[in-house]
């Protein structure tokens, strides 16, 4: 018979696991399990960034996916902050009809022929036509590469949710064999 009843509730271990993958199990005195969890979750998350670039963590343009990615914790929030503040800038929204006059100004990634320039008057970064040999600070990922990179990062968050729950209510998962009291029933 397998016993999956939680031993105890560990709210601080769950909070630690939310703060950094594996930290909850480290608090519970399981360093090997903690290291394995951290390698798994962070490997998936940074693997996704390696595949799709920083563009796969985007709370504005891929909001639904970001809800899953945010479960990785402050690491994901920090990457998204860096993406929004250091890689994007304000420019015309060219997704609309290019012939339409007066495009809306939005915060977006740059096109290959643009570079980031700080507008002293408006006190914000803007996209301007790039001189030869220059371009935006990152290349936006497209098609399958973007989808797979986003999937990696979102699955990292979902796996971390499992790890947080295990830190909160450790069952060891683990199919502990319990002998029935008084022998066989």
């Amino acid at each position: 018979m397998s016993d999956t009843t939680p031993e105890r509730i560990h709210p601080f271990a769950a909070l630690a696991a939310l703060a950094f993958p594996g930290a909850g199990h480290l608090m519970l005195g399981q360093p090997v399990r903690a290291a394995a969890a951290a390698v798994g979750v962070l490997g998936l998350f940074f693997g996704g960034m390696f595949v799709g670039g920083i563009d796969v963590v985007d709370s504005r343009e891929d909001q639904i996916w970001f809800y899953g990615e945010a479960l990785v914790g402050p690491v994901a929030l920090g990457v998204d902050y860096a993406h929004q503040h250091w890689f994007k800038a304000y420019g015309r929204d060219l997704r609309a009809d290019p012939s339409a006059a007066g495009h809306q100004i939005i915060l977006r990634s740059g096109y290959p022929d643009e570079h980031r320039v700080y507008d002293q008057a408006a006190k914000k970064w803007t996209w301007q036509p790039a001189p030869a040999g220059q371009g935006p600070p990152n290349v936006k990922s497209l098609a399958k590469v973007n989808e797979i990179g986003t999937l990696y990062c979102t699955l990292a968050g979902m796996m971390n949710l499992i790890i947080v729950l295990d830190a909160l209510m450790p069952t060891r998962g683990r199919r502990v064999v319990v002998e029935p009291a008084g022998g066989d029933a």
């Binding site: 798994g40 693997g47 670039g53 371009g135 936006k140 990922s141 399958k144 797979i148 796996m159």
Partner: protein, 84 residues
């Protein structure tokens, strides 16, 4: 910054022709994270991660094969196109 410069983790890799192979590291990462909490004896962790990775990849390959069979054999058999 030059548009030709590639920066890992900032720019995407050029995997448009072999994207399907990325299922292998994806399965490995899922297995590594899942078995971290499900493995009873951590001495068996590497073996269990490897086993789960193989199971995921084999499952996805089987689903792909089944989808191919349905799309190219079953549907044309059930609803043949005129002239085919």
């Amino acid at each position: 910054m030059s548009v030709l410069a590639y920066t890992p983790f900032i720019d995407p890799i050029n995997a448009h022709s072999w994207w399907y192979l990325l299922i292998v590291p994806l399965a490995l990462g899922i297995s590594a994270a899942f078995k971290a909490v499900r493995c009873g004896d951590m001495r068996r962790y590497p073996r269990q991660v490897l086993m789960m990775t193989v199971q995921i990849v084999a499952g996805v390959v089987a689903l792909a094969a089944a989808s191919y069979a349905v799309l190219y054999w079953v549907i044309p058999y059930v609803t043949p196109m005129p002239g085919s």
